[in-house]
């Protein structure tokens, strides 16, 4: 019976390929619902069960048996994955409608098929403990997301980006294989089950960081992030939302999973994760600020949020090393809670950016502006998401950040100067990240949606239908719910962390309940105050006394939309301050004194990613050397026979000399 239930989604997914075009979306939706019901029910059972006993399902077949193990950590991620995949699918119907004229039904079929497989492979990653099965689903995840990015393959950059993505994912895969093999060589077990044995009598740090590097490529920690800001903008928006919202979190899941087995050196590991994560957060948001491509900005902000999650995880690991349960609970709690929160607001923001792209056919902020008049609901939702991602109360981002702040302030009271200083530096970094995020998202929202349009853009009526708005509203309401009633979500999470890391969460949870209730109270007071003041405003301002006119232009009345502040000018003073790190390029010819009638000139601002140029240098070098080897490939049959002959000769000689 279990066999059939587990195999059913796989078999059902293949029918997506042969469905008639009209039915395909609804069939995919049905399959997705089925998968979600199938996995969410046991996941919720495990997560909300006080003891958190793992459940196992065994699927047998002619190729052998696979064991699915559903524990509380996996269950937590499964619920997040299911929700985001569902909203992405709901959104995709409206979003992909405009592609119906340009794409063939076969391409749509492949797209929905890959989408379902991305979902399935993520769920498998979360439930498989065996190395081979885990790596196969890890690979399936990379391939299916690769197919999804490829949707607009007719664009050259998309093709290049997705191949780049596939290559980098495989570098990660190789690192994971090596790590698993090293564990197997010692313990004889290929998979996560071998880890506790390995960690018990070997130094933990090297093998952990091998795993960390493999997973970090997926998660997007610097310097492994370079695929991310390219791949997210290239993909269709619902795919970017799912990739950024949940797929990269599989990397986080992997890191946390390995951390649950770590037995020594936790302090050192924690400090190193903390440093990498802090740099990731700062670099990510700094790069986000200078971007002019809306989706690229969101992609870099994803890197920033991975940094915040990493800070939480690093803090939790330090807590493990120091045997301070409060740090472990608050660190992992904040980090993993941010995984949930980020999956919510980042998918919301990507869906909104997708609606903007659909309406205007551009992602360049320099050309946008004033969209709030044409798309007021999308604008409102983007604002909501921006406020949440900037960790502004009373929304959800604030809750996870304050948990990390709690942990950092608790860590301040240490006996070692080094620890106190590193905690303070992290507090400093987190505060700075908060300020920078505010800067970046006031730019993203303000310049895209406010003011007037910076170029001639035609926006049709009703581009964003109710079908596209519904999933966004769903996410927004959950964001508000998490912000106002965080304990609802936090208490199972805390229980899970307690069970996974063998600490007692009770004392921390008790003090958190008090603080979080106060935060909710302030949030409610804030909302009531805003509503009261708004109604007062409505009462006091009499419509006949309001005059409408143009914006004050300091006496200059011929102002045009081109005179508005642009995205580059908004970030110019910051880019100048951060130039030692960012190295942005500007192209502009100064006006000479002799030039009485200045010619027409242009200004270009190009943000560059130093890590990306570093990696492309390595790639260029290897390409060049590989090209030299490629000269052997002449296409001449005689040459190939010669190679074969030389090869046989070498083998023969080696055998003769008894070397082989």
């Amino acid at each position: 019976m279990e066999n059939i239930v587990i195999l059913a989604p796989v078999i059902l997914s293949f029918f997506i390929l042969v469905m008639p075009s009209g039915m395909r979306y609804f069939y995919t939706l049905g399959v997705t619902f089925f998968i979600i019901l199938l996995t969410s029910a046991p996941a919720a059972g495990v997560l909300f069960h006080p003891a958190g006993v793992p459940q196992t399902f065994i699927a047998g077949g002619f190729l052998g048996t696979i064991t699915f193990t559903l524990d509380s950590l996996g269950a937590f991620f499964i619920l997040i994955v299911n929700f985001t995949v569902l909203t992405g699918l709901l959104y995709s119907n409206g979003y992909l409608r405009s592609y119906r004229s340009t794409k063939t039904p076969a391409q749509f079929a492949l797209h929905y098929f890959s989408y379902t497989w991305l979902h399935l492979s993520m769920l498998c990653v979360l439930m498989l403990r065996d190395g081979t099965a885990f790596l196969i689903s890890w690979e399936l995840m990379a391939v299916s997301s690769f197919m999804l990015i490829l949707f607009e393959a007719e664009k050259r950059t998309t093709l290049k980006t997705s191949v780049n993505y596939l290559i980098q994912m495989h570098v990660g895969l190789v690192l994971l294989i090596i790590a698993f093999l090293l564990v197997e060589a010692d313990t004889g077990q290929f998979g996560f089950d071998g880890l506790p044995i390995y960690f018990s009598h070997h130094p933990n740090t090297p093998i952990f960081f091998l795993f960390f590097a493999g997973f970090a490529i997926k998660a997007g920690f610097i310097p492994f992030h370079t695929w991310l800001p390219e791949a997210h903008p290239a993909a269709p928006s619902h795919v970017s939302g799912v990739m950024s919202g949940v797929m990269i979190k599989m990397g986080i899941f992997g890191i946390v999973r390995v951390l649950t087995f770590v037995q020594s050196d936790a302090y050192l590991i924690g400090i190193i994760i903390m440093i990498i994560a802090t740099l990731t957060g700062l670099y990510g948001i700094m790069m986000a600020i200078v971007q002019t491509d809306l989706k690229k900005l969101l992609a870099y902000s994803t890197i920033e949020n991975i940094g915040i999650i990493g800070m939480g995880i690093g803090l939790g690991t330090i807590g493990l090393g120091l045997n301070q349960p409060a740090l472990t609970i608050l660190g992992f709690g904040g980090g993993l809670f941010h995984v949930l929160n980020h999956s919510l607001f980042k998918s919301l923001l990507f869906y909104c950016a997708g609606s903007v792209y659909k309406a205007t056919h551009t992602r360049n902020i320099e050309q946008l502006g004033g969209l709030i008049h044409k798309m007021p609901r999308t604008a409102g939702l983007f604002l909501f998401g921006s406020a949440a991602i900037c960790a502004l109360p009373p929304l959800n981002g604030f809750i996870s950040e304050i948990l990390i702040y709690y942990g950092l302030f608790a860590g301040l009271q240490a006996t070692s100067v080094f620890q106190t200083m590193s905690m303070l530096m992290s507090i400093l970094a987190l505060a700075l990240i908060g300020g920078l995020a505010l800067f970046g998202f006031s730019k993203a929202f303000g310049l895209t949606f406010l003011g007037t349009s910076r170029s001639e853009i035609y926006i049709g009526e009703n581009v964003v239908g109710p079908g596209m708005l519904f999933p966004k509203l769903l996410i927004a309401s959950i964001i508000l719910l998490v912000g106002l009633a965080p304990m609802l979500f936090l208490s199972p999470l805390m229980g899970m962390i307690g069970a996974q890391f063998h600490v007692n969460p009770e004392p921390v949870v008790v003090s958190l309940i008090y603080a979080l209730s106060k935060i909710s109270l302030v949030g409610i007071i804030l909302i009531i105050l805003i509503i009261a003041l708004l109604s007062l405003r409505k009462l006091v301002i009499k419509p006949e006394k309001v005059v409408y006119g143009s914006t004050w232009g300091c006496g200059y009345t011929a102002g045009t939309a081109r005179q508005q502040y642009t995205a580059s000018s908004f970030s110019a003073n910051f880019a100048e301050l951060a130039d030692p790190i960012l190295h942005s390029e500007t192209e502009y010819r100064q006006i000479h004194e002799e030039e009485i009638f200045p010619e027409k000139r242009s200004f270009t601002f190009r943000p560059t990613d130093i890590f990306r140029s570093g990696i492309s240098k390595i790639i260029d070098f290897s390409m060049l050397s590989l090209k030299k080897i490629a000269r052997l490939q002449t296409g001449n049959i005689q040459h190939y026979i010669l190679y074969a002959f030389i090869f046989i000769l070498i083998i023969f000689t080696l055998l003769y000399l008894k070397i082989l």
């Binding site: 507090i427 300020g435 006031s442 406010l450 105050l529 805003i530 005179q563």
Partner: protein, 328 residues
């Protein structure tokens, strides 16, 4: 109680600054309540709204004022149990204010004016740079006192021994400077400048008029008084048996425990009195600083603001030295 006192102070605060500035420049100056008379007029006036703007422009001043109210609610008043205090409440304090700032910046961007875009950009940059100074300062205080709620920090701070005197001095200096930056006052911004190109706060409200402008001005007055209360928390004594020389000099009694209950009747009167003295001195100080100090070049501003963070770092290292000496 705190909210009430802040509102009362806010009534006089902008007037005192104006009066001091007038006196310093040799004029008689308007009455203390003149700024509020202006606000009263504004509340009844009609408004001119730009056709470029959207609903963001209309809700921005409302959210701005609401966040300031909430922030004030979070602050404790010396010697009294705070209503909303909890561990780490200063994080909420900073982020609630950030929400108001975020909406305020967006309200300015909503007009599509290049000047207001410029102001919005500067506001965002400076408040981003000032954020770390505030957090390091509270990190320092948390390390010194071992508490993370503002109420407990301020109460135990006064009993932390002789060492807290120097930290208190640095903290008050930093808070005065942060208040100046957050309210867009002198070394960073000049409220009286006439050139839009060099404005920050004033340029952002160019298009606001009538009721909306009044809300912003009320917000600004409250924000000043709010920072005054924050500073007063360092200076107003909490223990009845403490000897007050004046608002700034306290004789420490480190053997005393932390007083949690509200003091005797005359104690409250004395505390409120000291609170008002602190607020008046703070307002006078701002007036004097604005009269005798020139605004910095705009390109120098980031440097100035980052300096505050480094001063806070120095304070932190100082505390580190103090506390580790105490352990050994």
């Amino acid at each position: 109680m705190g909210l009430l006192l802040v509102i009362v102070t806010a009534l006089f605060f902008p007037g005192i600054i104006l009066r001091i500035k007038s006196i310093a420049s040799g004029r008689k100056g308007p009455g203390i309540l003149q700024p509020w008379k202006n606000i009263w007029v504004l509340l009844h006036k009609g408004s001119v709204i730009s056709t470029t703007t959207s609903y963001i422009f209309r809700i921005a001043p409302v959210v701005y004022l609401a966040t300031i109210f909430c922030a004030i609610l979070l602050l404790p008043f010396p010697g009294m149990p705070s209503l909303l205090g909890f561990n780490g409440d200063f994080v909420l304090f900073a982020y609630v204010l950030a929400l108001g700032k975020f909406m305020f910046i967006l309200g300015a961007l909503d007009t599509g004016s290049s000047f207001e875009g410029m102001g919005a950009n500067r506001e965002a940059l400076y408040s981003m740079l000032a954020e770390p100074a505030f957090f390091i300062l509270f990190g320092t205080l948390a390390l010194l006192t071992g508490h993370t709620s503002m109420q407990q920090i301020f109460e135990s701070f006064q009993f932390a021994g002789h060492n807290s005197f120097i930290i208190g001095f640095i903290a008050v200096y930093l808070l005065v400077q942060i208040a100046m930056i957050e309210n867009s006052r002198m070394p960073v911004d000049d409220p009286k400048t006439h050139l839009e190109l060099t404005m920050i706060h004033e340029v952002m409200i160019l298009d606001h008029s009538g009721f909306d402008l009044a809300l912003i001005q009320i917000g600004t007055a409250l924000k000043f008084a709010m920072y005054g209360l924050l500073i007063a928390n360092f200076l107003v004594p909490v223990d009845a048996e403490q000897l007050i020389v004046n608002g700034e000099h306290l004789i420490m009694n480190s053997e005393k425990g932390i007083v949690k209950n509200v003091g005797e009747g005359w104690m409250v009167v004395m505390q409120v009195g000291v609170y008002f003295i602190v607020q008046i001195v703070f307002a006078a100080l701002i007036g004097l600083m604005e009269s005798f100090r020139a605004r910095k070049k705009l390109v120098r501003n980031p440097q100035f603001i980052v300096t505050l963070s480094s001063i806070a770092l120095v304070a932190f290292i100082l505390v580190l030295l103090i506390t580790f000496k105490m352990i050994r």
